[in-house]
Subunit: 448 residues, 4 copies
């Protein structure tokens, strides 16, 4: 048990293994094996295997939601719970996508849109589209080949991948899966032991990693109840539980917290600048004040993000923060002093276009690619990327934009961004007593 | 298969046939025949035929939604999918109607409303009411006689019809279905081959068409997933699919895109003005800036529209654009320099009155007439028009207006137009744990 | 059939009978008898009678919604349809009550509220509470004794009743049901034949009626589809229908319109002032401009109302109009030049208190008393009134008000009145793919 | 029957018994015994006992909603009805929690959050967290040991408990359950007989109570229909009812009102200041004006609260009042002249943090602890407190705050507080006719 949980958090093994204290030194995770024994006993598992056999053809997936739908039905319950869960009541997690519905388009007509080019440059790398695969931990929960699946699809589509510190494949495996010249970035959780962190960063830089994304929104890993509940279920089936178990799940979070340094602060930034020449990007900026500070500290970029709604509930969506951040930067004419990225809830090309038009250089996509990977492997992720590109081309054309630089705030209606409409509780009696309108009745059958 | 799809897009055959490149020269579409073989195999088809037999009497349709209800039950699934679908998540498609709920009335009382006259003049033609039949492609999917059904009903009610470039009947057939003096307009998709476009326009003008509506919101035809999925279903039942099918649907869209010229731009407008004396109207204007440009380019009108929500999702509703456009025109005192029309989501006379009061000369209605036609043919469309007129008379009276020119912004409460309220995601636990209020209980039955 | 409808609508018979053209002269309606023959055939009718037998005890009705619930189950379908229906999509009808949810309280504490007095004076009559029974046509549909049921309950509770022109009991019957000194008002539909109208008004004044409410929001009676459909059902079951029936319902509306004069206008007001000394109140004012006019024309009062949502859909709620009207009157310091009443959607004492605090002298209540009457007769209406009074006492105490004049705008939070929030259409895929949060699971049963 | 109700409400017996008029002198309540006879007859009761046997393990409760879920299933129906009910349509009751969704966070990153300390000082007492157990009547309905259960858990977690005047245990019992030095406050309903009130207050002070919370939002106890209905059910099953029962429930409220003095007013405050040195706090302040007055009258604190939504429906949520109150205090620079507390709807640490950041010294929590107590006794309440603390630590860290004084308005996005969004009634036809988007279909099973 303990073992199983520990295994889940062996990050960047190639780099780290030598540096880990012995009790964290457990060799590579083989999740498929570990899970199997348990799952066999599970009566639901048979049905799941049946569902896998009959899963829809890949070509029947027409948008990113479709992969989520299929994944939900074919993934192991615990894996689904881990990927799909968010903090507390998952308000922020869902707000992330729904916030995009507060922004509407003001398309221009009669523009020659014969040729549309949505390629762009992020942190110096030209890539085929303004989105990237963001870092997500524990890829092997969804697919036996883990993060390397994403690497391969990213290559097919000339898309940048961000490698997570807490990957389930080793850093070397992920690098090896990439082809010569394929750009990857590194997402970094900073360790209390800074010499370990230094070695990770420098190894990555040495291996050609092109950007260092320091996660700043996770001094402690979030409480995700869906995930806790799913684990509890497993445990409960096998063991005698006592009420002293109270803190076990919490304990895991704490174990990680001892790995992630909660004392990391602005004071540490200059040190990072001494140990690497990679552009440094702060992942998880959540208000204008911190974006301004980021410029002042001389970092190369920020990701406005709330960690996919997995950390603090009622944190605002990335897209809403983006509006505030860009306004503050433009006020000081600092919008070119760093690159702003945005993630959280991106599901449609229209979402991407909104972020780019507001001023983002690119957007990160997390769960959708995990779902595509879990349901259909490399081909799934490739199709997900293809669909996004088809939508991008179509929608830029319909907006009257032929290139990324045509996308700017004048094509957006932003009046409603920033409002959080909370419907007044329904008047139960009044609404249940209402007798809805009817539709015309069919003729009664001749007989009967 | 290929054949079937190609056939669907043979527009304006009479005019075009001589000009089409040979591989697009396929003769008139007979959709009913083509579909039949497949439908016979369909087990659902029997139920549908049963439903047709028992469909409600026409007189039981009391509003435009009723036709939609009946059509959904009696139309072929693929035809229903084509008519009813919209872009992406169909947010814009539904917003089109629901945006009208943001506008409320400030009716005037104690006005002599004995006589109410809602007739009006559009592009120089007096007609019985301020709405027209807008252009919609592929009428034969819904009714074997296609667009001519609309022509006949339009005549009965003295309503203008706009003929689509992509009609399933030939242009001549549609003209012939009209009676002497009946006004029709032409909706135009501009071809890469401008000589072809020129011939279409001039033929139309020669045959007495009274207005040229150039569609400017469709440089590429939209992705409508409901439609794609319905087609996929069909195909899947017959053929071995491989994942290389990925782009087939896309391919059809592209075939059409090669017919519709995506490079059409403002620079082309003067040319149109040289080839015709018909009033030129741009169909699909979506912001004030382009409305201003339209005046500057000297066209006679614009339709604020998002193509029925079939092109770009999160494009704003026609009625919301109308508010913005009229404000910009009035600011320059240009409101009389062109006629502004509006379409999208019109289902009630109150919707029409709102648009007219804001400044529109008339409104276009698409799907409701298609549904009335599909469910009940000419008589259906006639009743749909009659119901709208009855509602118009009633509602103008209740507003205190006796003629079109009485309708102006002072009768409207516009405070909420332009807001896009997106409810915060529900707090699932909090709401599911709420125990609703109860109603009084009946006495228990004497026995039991 | 024809007969049945005719009989139902013999209003103010005592007064009118002598003046009606012979073909409208049909004697008193006995609806219970007339209906029976048809209802016997109805298979649903048996179930309804069963439901009546088991209906909840009157004391189990704790609020006005409860009467609606019971009435829906025990009333005849057509009667229910007539009472409960509203115009078009019934948006305004439902908005009427839900608009009250836009106003919140700012109660004052530490006020001596030992004694609470909510009696008030309306048009010179002191009465026990600031609400009255508004005029509603066709009382006999709900109860064999029709409007006289309301008269009796009104007396018990010292509440004013407004007698409808289109009552199903004769005017004399309703007057006779009242006790000596009981105040009643008259609601007036103005006839094309002004001498008839004059006689009605003067007879009423002669018999001691204390106020003349001229309905100004119904130059034509509304289209209520629920009601139309319910009638259609009946007809359809018995007769061969042809599509020429199209206009039958419409025809009726027109017949009534010929009774109600749609040419009534401000020019007629001085004439009314010459024929009666009763205070004149315009029922159905819907914007500030007309309220101002009402003062200028010297009438004694107005009712801000949209006829219970039965006339024009998207007309604003009475309470919202009230805010606008009071602001306009106060701006000119005219708030004491006429009495403002308000009706529509009043269901709770909190609704009443909001209207009074905004400046209304009293509020009218329509459907709730009809439902109480239909379900439980006089005792039902009495209990409905009692419940309102109990709520009034309680809520005034909790607000820190001991008398009507303590209720003023400072106890209200009005920030949200006037906004019409229309939720953006839901992102179907995104919301259906969301996997809600779970609750703890029960232990599995010992066995199994 | 009568007896049962009497017994339930013997508050503060130790203090009061000597002072009560003889007819209110009934000895200590033993609810479990009294209820049993009736419940045995109840067929639902067997199922409830079954549910209790299988209730989830305590460790499976991961948040405060979980306790509500379990309590709903294991509590007696009448007890559940009493705890869970609110005034009228329970709009305010539900608004209390949902209002928190109008406030969002602007977390700060890169703050050293290694150590987080959420302890604080309220009315001079240091305690482990900024929440307290607020006063709720009738604890024995939920647990045979009543309020002492809360006392014990409060001690475990170093949390302050407020003792209710209307406790079901005697005041002495509750004091005795506390350990030496454990801080308790007293909630006071003021009696018409001030000498009785004086004795209660002085006894409490003598026994070391550290704060006097005078409830000012309940001059009359609220009408809670869910509760009324649940009682009616019971009665109905046993007795012959007549319609004269109308006022029975009302009568009880009146009996209580004769106990609680509705004439209590600001004039009484100076008197309280003469009889005690305990800090005086007004519980139930609901607008800025009264908060200002409270300062002027020299009390030590206020609780912005609406009594858990149990008194006046459409009273605003505590958190919304808090915003208004703090603004008014800060405007006069009076924010340190009294301590402001807040209660109502607190369910998550994020709720607590929002209130504290706005300026509250602490928040009261009512129902959640009652539910935890009813479902799991002392251990349940302890776990509820533990969960809140875990959430507090986590969320403060994620916000970038290490101590209570770091929480201030700059971490909040308050743009939407104060708006009461009431969705326009849905367009039933339009929404029911919408044909939702589909998801990919599974392959048909090989056979079949
Ligand atoms: C003096 C003559 C009449 C008067 C005063 C009268 C009055 C009324 C009134 C007050 C209503 C309900 C109005 C409302 O909803 O507010 C009504 C409805 C109706 N009346 Fe009459 N009526 C008259 C003659 C007739 C005649 C001649 C017919 C039939 C041939 C008729 C058939 C109906 C029907 C079917 C309705 C229901 C209308 C609906 O569905 O909205 N009435 N009438
Ligand atoms: C010193 C005497 C009494 C005290 C202090 C007292 C206190 C209370 C309290 C605190 C409540 C609940 C209040 C709340 O909902 O916040 C209550 C409710 C109730 N009491 Fe008493 N009570 C007393 C005497 C009585 C008597 C004499 C009766 C009956 C004859 C009675 C019957 C009830 C009933 C039926 C309820 C439920 C009320 C409802 O449904 O809202 N009580 N009482
Ligand atoms: C399963 C999962 C694991 C994640 N793990 C990490 C991580 O280890 N480090 C990190 O910085 N962000 C992590 N994230 C956050 C993502 O980088 C990104 O911010 C977020 O997923 C974007 O939202 P989306 O999933 O809606 O696209 C994770 C997200 C998910 C869903
Ligand atoms: C099935 C269908 C086909 C359409 N085809 C065309 C077309 O060929 N050309 C065009 O300009 N607009 C086309 N439209 C858009 C309509 O002209 C119009 O903008 C829209 O239908 C109005 O919205 P409504 O359907 O809600 O009334 C089509 C709309 C539908 C529903
Ligand atoms: C069944 C019914 C019949 C009505 N008949 C009349 C009428 O004849 N004359 C009139 O002025 N108002 C009439 N009204 C409108 C009412 O006077 C009042 O404006 C409305 O009912 C108030 O709304 P409420 O029903 O929500 O309380 C009628 C309303 C109903 C429900
Ligand atoms: C069952 C119950 C009984 C209550 N009894 C009292 C009371 O006797 N005196 C009082 O001042 N407040 C009383 N309250 C109000 C609480 O002190 C507090 O204001 C409220 O419960 C806070 O809301 P919450 O339940 O959502 O946390 C009671 C609340 C409940 C739920």
């Amino acid at each position: 048990m303990q073992l199983r949980h520990m295994n889940q958090f062996i990050p960047l093994q190639g780099i780290i293994s030598e540096n880990l204290p012995p009790d964290k030194h457990l060799g590579e995770a083989d999740m498929s094996t570990i899970e199997i024994s348990k799952e066999e006993a599970d009566p639901d598992e048979k049905e799941r295997l049946e569902r896998i056999k009959n899963k829809p053809l890949l070509v029947e997936c027409f948008n990113l939601f479709d992969f989520e739908f299929v994944a939900r039905h074919v993934m192991k319950k615990t894996a689904w719970a881990y990927y799909s869960s968010g903090a507390d009541d998952e308000i922020t997690m869902r707000e992330n996508h729904s916030a995009f519905a507060k922004i509407w388009f003001k398309p221009r007509i009669l523009v020659d849109v014969d040729k549309v080019d949505y390629s762009t440059i992020m942190l110096g790398t030209r890539c085929s589209a303004p989105f990237y695969v963001t870092a997500t931990a524990l890829g092997k929960l969804g697919h036996p080949e883990g993060e390397t699946v994403l690497t391969k699809a990213a290559h097919t589509h000339d898309i940048i991948q961000m490698i997570p510190t807490l990957a389930s494949c080793s850093f070397e495996q992920i690098r090896d899966a990439a082809v010569e010249g394929q750009t990857q970035w590194l997402q970094l959780y900073v360790n209390k032991d800074r010499s370990l962190t230094k070695r990770i960063v420098q190894t990555a830089e040495g291996q050609g990693i092109k950007g260092l994304f320091i996660t700043v929104d996770a001094p402690q890993l979030g409480r995700r109840e869906k995930d806790m509940r799913s684990k509890f279920g497993d445990i409960g089936a096998h063991e005698q539980r006592s009420d002293n178990d109270v803190d076990r799940t919490q304990g895991v979070a704490r174990a990680i917290s001892s790995f992630i340094d909660p004392s990391l602060s602005w004071q540490d930034i200059p040190w990072f600048q001494t140990i690497t020449k990679m552009p440094i990007v702060l992942k998880g900026v959540q208000c204008a004040e911190d974006a301004i500070k980021a410029v002042e500290y001389g970092v190369q970029g920020i990701v406005v993000s709330n960690h996919g709604g997995r950390q603090l509930d009622y944190a605002r969506s990335g897209i809403e923060i983006l509006v505030e951040v860009m306004a503050a930067l433009r006020e000081r004419n600092w919008q070119d002093r760093l690159e702003v990225f945005c993630d959280g809830g991106i599901r449609r090309a229209t979402d991407i276009i909104k972020a780019i038009a507001l001023g983002a250089k690119g957007v990160g996509i997390g769960r959708p690619f995990l779902y595509a990977m879990s349901a259909y492997g490399v081909e799934g992720v490739e199709r997900a990327m293809l669909l996004l590109k088809q939508e991008l081309e179509m929608n830029m054309r319909l907006i009257g934009a032929t290139k990324i630089s045509d996308l700017n705030p004048t094509i957006l209606d932003l009046k409603s961004i920033g409002t959080h409409s909370v419907p007044t509780p329904t008047d139960v009696l009044s609404s249940q007593e209402y007798d809805g309108l009817l539709v015309p009745k069919s003729k009664p059958k001749a007989k009967l």
